[in-house]
Symmetry: C2
Amino acid sequence: MDNGNGGDHRPGRVLVVGGTHGNERNGLWLLDQWRQHPGQLHRHGLALELVVGNPVAAQANRRYVDRDLNRSFRAELLSDPDNQELEVLRARQLLARHGPAGNKPCLVAIDLHSTTAAMGNSLVLYNRRPASLALAAVLQRRLGLPIYLHESDSCQSGYLGACWPCALVIEVGPVAQGLVNGRICQQSQIAVETALDALAQAREGPFALGSALLVHGHLRSMDLPRHGDGSPAGLVHPSLQDRDWRPLGAGDPLFLAGDGTTTAFSPENGDGSGTLWPVFINEAAYGEKGIALSLTRREMVPVAAGWAPSLTELARRLERDPP
Amino acid sequence: MDNGNGGDHRPGRVLVVGGTHGNERNGLWLLDQWRQHPGQLHRHGLALELVVGNPVAAQANRRYVDRDLNRSFRAELLSDPDNQELEVLRARQLLARHGPAGNKPCLVAIDLHSTTAAMGNSLVLYNRRPASLALAAVLQRRLGLPIYLHESDSCQSGYLGACWPCALVIEVGPVAQGLVNGRICQQSQIAVETALDALAQAREGPFALGSALLVHGHLRSMDLPRHGDGSPAGLVHPSLQDRDWRPLGAGDPLFLAGDGTTTAFSPENGDGSGTLWPVFINEAAYGEKGIALSLTRREMVPVAAGWAPSLTELARRLERDPP
């Protein structure tokens, strides 16, 4: 499913979503505040749609009700009339309302997430679309945010952002589920405002992107060691905890078993050569997905000539906030 | 409800409870490991009962099902035959099995908790019983653990520990709910082993307690500012977040409203004079209780002559682990 923007010249807004996961409360808090005090968000004149991703799950303070909304934007789910799961219905509704071809179309989606992992203030990209890369490059250039490029994992797909022509996930942690933390909110807000500022600048014409984007490209995920009955036989090694975005080499401690033995990291054949960089270390919501951490490879992606014009073309179609 | 040990000379064991709150997973993890690998816990020859506090809630990864188990050990609940709430039933069952007058009586209760607040490795005491104070004094002397003395709050009572002649809560954070964190587990285990070591030493006779115990005595709790409909109108100020056990004075930032205004701390008349020390700042589970933080007063409690003999008397009744 790729709603590209090729050939489409309709105007649209910027979609800002919080609570795609109902127990990630910081984005929900920000949406509430921005609605009550619009002046608290520097919009740079852009018209926004502030939307709670999964209101039913948010009400229940749960990640989701039937299935993870941020894995539900898959063509085979969206097009299956027999699928009436709450999150699939919600995904269809969000697209009908705010998709690029929706009633109140949005051209850019900014999705606010938080994590129990020590990811800091970071970005997640789902593919290498030029406009998204350009927007991420501005945020990295201005704020130094690390980028997790999550592509080519058939086990993990159906992300909300994949359905808009330009999309960013702002992922901030560590913070417990169900908790509003002022610093996490501040970090999220800075990233949103910088993205809006970048869009406002992009519509004016040429803008600086630097020469390369530093991304951490998804390689594979690793599960905890498990007993025959599926229960964990070890935990993330204490010396690896909170070391997101730091190098992990052969022989480094990975898991600690209940009997005190340490499992050291050992790259697989498919990992290729070079150092790997773990992310989402011990994210509470990923236990059920069998993910204790994900491994990435660090990559300098040269900025292509088409990135900035692609973002400019999109940004020029963005509606202005009514004065 | 006070099951004192006066006049009772029955032997008993040490009760170690994890998962009194079903989404505090670190204690549950430790119990599993100690059952699978008894050698991983230095028991100092003491016979233990390793018990999951709330197995149904643990299975569901929820704090509780019907009501907070750690507020359910209240005489009026336990004695009300019409009350069939899951946690009240469980409280009765735990007392029948492992209470001081139970089938497999326990004399000491060690209750493992974790918190999303930055409490570090700490102890919670519910009253000033000599044996508990003596045990806490050993842990403070050896490990430097801070102590939250939670007494005289009619809004918060019914704690598990209050029903055993000697009880400690080991409270470790910050860690998200639903998450096992190796460092939190290690901190918890050190505290449990030190307590068991202290009990083993106490049964041998006189032992050193120092001259005074430093406690942080509960004064009152504070809620977030709220709108008329009950929704929060502010969050814990970012500069207060994670400052558990540090002084809070008049004028220090307390809450941050959505419009950017800061509410400064202002002591109430009942607070008396002197500095106050906040604890459990922004604990995720306390939102529903209307508690954003609790205020304590720091107090040096002189070690009384009766503390050590009280613990020794109890410790001498502790059963040995079968060889």
